[in-house]
C-alpha cells in the first residue's frame, strides 16, 4: 500500500496547488485564460515541456524501445528536440506578439481576423475539437488503466475480477479503470476550474519536476540492480533476442526515420500550446524554452530508451496478449522490489499524463467561451466574472463528456492508435499557420483550401489505417512507400495553400498592415 500512499500524496499536493492558485487569482478573464500574460521564463519552459510530454514519454518510449530499439530516440526524441524548438522560435513568438497586440485568446480568433473570414473560423473550430478529443481520451484511459495495474491486489474484496474460466484476473484487486479515470478527471477539473490557466501552469511545473526526477531515479535503481550501466548494456549484446535493438537497422526503415520529422510540426497548431504561448510575459521569456527543450527531452527519453533495450535482455520475448507498454512497470517490479519506487514511478507517469490533460481541458473551455458564446452574443454583453463563469461551465461539461466517452471506449483496442493520427492532423494544418504568419500572399481561399485538403487527405489515410480491414500479414502501422502518412498530409496541405493563394485575390492592405510589421 506504500506505493498507493505516495500516489495519493502526489494527487493531494495537486489539490493544494489548485487551492493556492485560486488565492492568487485576480478574478478577471485575462487572469483566468492567460494568467494576465505574466508567465516568466522558468514557468513557461516547465508548462510547455509538461504539456508536450504525455504519458508516452515514460511508458510508451520504454515499450517502443523494447520493440524497435534505440532508433526510437532518433525517431521521436531528437527530431522533436530540434523541430519543437524551431516551431516555438519561428511560430510561437510571432503568435505571442500578434496575440498581445490584438488581444487574442484562441487560434480561431486569430485566423478569422488574419483572413477576414468568419467562415474560416467556423470551419477550423470543429476540426481542432475533433483532433483534440481523441488525444484527451488516450490520456484519461491510459491513466485509468495505469492506476488499475499499479494497485492490483490491493483491494481483493472490493475490486475482485475473474477471467471467463473463473480464475482470478491478473489485475484483480486493482482500482477499476473507470474509477481511476474519474479520480484523475476530478483532480484536473478541480485545479483548472478554480485556478484557471494559472492552476494548470503551476501544476505543470510541479508535474514536470515529478516525472523528470522519478524517471532518473527509476533509471538509476534499475541499472544498479542489473549490475551497473555497462553490465546492463553488455547483457543486451550478449542476448540474441535483444542485440538487434542496439541499432536501428532492420527495425525502423530509413524513409520512416526521416519522414517522422513532420510529426513534431503538430506543436505549431496545438490549441493548448497556442494558449500557453500567450501567457508569456515577453518574447524574451521564450529564450529558456527554446534552448532547454531539446536538453529536457534528452533527460527524460535517454533513460527510458535504455530501460527498454535492457528489458529486451532481462525480460526476453513477451507472451501473447502482453503489451510492450507494461515493460517499465515490469522492470520496476521484477528488479527493484521497492514499493516506494513503484509509487514514485506511478506518480511520475500520472504527472506526465495529467500535465497534458489540464491544458487541453482549459483550452477547450476557452475556445467554446470565446469562439461560440462571446462570438455569438458579443464581448460587451458579459461582465468579466460572467466570462469566467461561462468558461468554468464549459470546462465542467468537457471533462464530463470526455470521461463519459473514455468509459464507453475503455476496452477499445484502437484508442491508442489514435495518438499519432491526432498529431498527423495538427501537423497537416502547420502550413496554415506558417502561411498566416510569414506570407502576405496567403489568401482566404488558400487558407480554406489548406484546411479542407488536410481534412480530406487525413480522413482517407486514417480510414486506410484504422477503419479498413487489413489483408492478412499486413503491417500494423500504415507506411506509404516506407514513409509516414503525415508526409503526404503536410505536402497536400502546403501545395493547396500555395497554389490556391497564387490564383485568388490578395488580402486587403489594411488587413496586412494589421498583422505585419
Amino acid at each position: 500500500m506504500t506505493s498507493l500512499y505516495i500516489i495519493i500524496g502526489y494527487l493531494a499536493l495537486l489539490i493544494g496547488l489548485g487551492v493556492i492558485s485560486n488565492r492568487f487569482s485576480k478574478g478577471t478573464s485575462a487572469d483566468f485564460f492567460i494568467v494576465n500574460r505574466s508567465v516568466g521564463s522558468f514557468l513557461l519552459l516547465m508548462s510547455i515541456f509538461g504539456t508536450t510530454m504525455t504519458g508516452f514519454a515514460l511508458v510508451g518510449s520504454t515499450g517502443k524501445a523494447y520493440t524497435s530499439g534505440i532508433g526510437t530516440y532518433g525517431l521521436m526524441a531528437s527530431w522533436s528536440g530540434l523541430i519543437h524548438s524551431a516551431v516555438f522560435f519561428l511560430v510561437g513568438i510571432r503568435l505571442w506578439a500578434v496575440g498581445k497586440r490584438h488581444g487574442y485568446l484562441t487560434q480561431c480568433e486569430y485566423f478569422r481576423n488574419r483572413f477576414d473570414s468568419q467562415g474560416l473560423g467556423y470551419l477550423l473550430f470543429p476540426i481542432l475539437i475533433l483532433l483534440l478529443i481523441p488525444y484527451l481520451l488516450v490520456g484519461v484511459i491510459s491513466a485509468g488503466k495505469f492506476i488499475q495495474a499499479s494497485t492490483k491486489g490491493m483491494f481483493p474484496e472490493q475490486f475482485a475480477l475473474n477471467l471467463p474460466n473463473g480464475n482470478p484476473h491478473p489485475l484483480s484487486g486493482g482500482i477499476p479503470p473507470e474509477l481511476g479515470g474519474a479520480i484523475i478527471c476530478g483532480i484536473v477539473l478541480f485545479y483548472v476550474f478554480f485556478g484557471g490557466l494559472r492552476g494548470a501552469v503551476w501544476a505543470n511545473t510541479f508535474q514536470t519536476l515529478v516525472f523528470m526526477i522519478t524517471g532518473v531515479i527509476a533509471f538509476w535503481m534499475i541499472s544498479s540492480r542489473l549490475g551497473g550501466l555497462s553490465a546492463a548494456s553488455q547483457a543486451v549484446l550478449d542476448s540474441e533476442f535483444a542485440k538487434p535493438r542496439a541499432a536501428r537497422e532492420g527495425l525502423i526503415g530509413q524513409a520512416q526515420f526521416f519522414t517522422y520529422c513532420f510529426i513534431p510540426l503538430s506543436v505549431g497548431m496545438f490549441p493548448h500550446l497556442f494558449q500557453h504561448w500567450l501567457t508569456a510575459k515577453s518574447a524574451k521569456s521564450f529564450k529558456l524554452t527554446v534552448v532547454a527543450h531539446p536538453i529536457f527531452i534528452m533527460i527524460v527519453w535517454v533513460p527510458c530508451i535504455l530501460i527498454g533495450i535492457w528489458a529486451a535482455a532481462h525480460v526476453g520475448p513477451l507472451g501473447p496478449g502482453q503489451s510492450p507498454n507494461s515493460i517499465l512497470g515490469r522492470m520496476v517490479e521484477s528488479l527493484v522490489h521497492s514499493p516506494v519506487l513503484s509509487g514514485l514511478v506511478g506518480a511520475g507517469v500520472l504527472a506526465a499524463i495529467m500535465s497534458s490533460l489540464d491544458s487541453q481541458f482549459m483550452c477547450l473551455g476557452t475556445m467554446f467561451t470565446k469562439d461560440i458564446v462571446l462570438k455569438k452574443f458579443g464581448e460587451d454583453r458579459f461582465s468579466d466574472s460572467q466570462k469566467v463563469l461561462i468558461a468554468r461551465g464549459f470546462i465542467l461539461a468537457i471533462v464530463a463528456i470526455t470521461y463519459g466517452l473514455s468509459v464507453s471506449l475503455m476496452n477499445s483496442a484502437h484508442v491508442f492508435d489514435l495518438g499519432v493520427w491526432c498529431f498527423s492532423g495538427f501537423a497537416g494544418l502547420f502550413p496554415l499557420v506558417v502561411g498566416a504568419v510569414y506570407w502576405k500572399g496567403t489568401t482566404r481561399l488558400g487558407a480554406i483550401a489548406c484546411i479542407l485538403v488536410t481534412a480530406v487527405t487525413w480522413s482517407v489515410l486514417f480510414y486506410r489505417d484504422i477503419i479498413a480491414v487489413k489483408p492478412p500479414g499486413a503491417e500494423d502501422e500504415l507506411l506509404i512507400a516506407g514513409m509516414m502518412p503525415v508526409t503526404f498530409i503536410v505536402a497536400a496541405s502546403a501545395i493547396s495553400l500555395v497554389v490556391v493563394s497564387l490564383l485568388t485575390p490578395k488580402p486587403a492592405d489594411a488587413t496586412l498592415r494589421k498583422f505585419f510589421a
Binding site: 528536440g81 524551431a86 536501428r248 518574447a283
Partner: protein
C-alpha cells in the same frame, strides 16, 4: 540570421545537446528583438 550507450543512441543524445547549443547561440545573436516593441504598440 539549422561505455554503456549504444553508439547510435550516443550519437542522437549528442545531437540533442548540439541542438540545445544551436538554439542558445540563436537566442544570443539572432533573437528578434524588435518583435517586443511591435507587440506593445497600440492596436490599430
Amino acid at each position: 540570421v539549422f561505455g554503456f550507450l549504444p553508439i547510435g543512441l550516443a550519437y542522437h543524445a549528442g545531437y540533442s545537446i548540439v541542438a540545445g547549443l544551436f538554439w542558445y547561440l540563436v537566442s544570443r545573436f539572432a533573437w528578434p528583438e524588435s518583435i517586443e516593441k511591435w507587440a506593445d504598440e497600440p492596436n490599430d
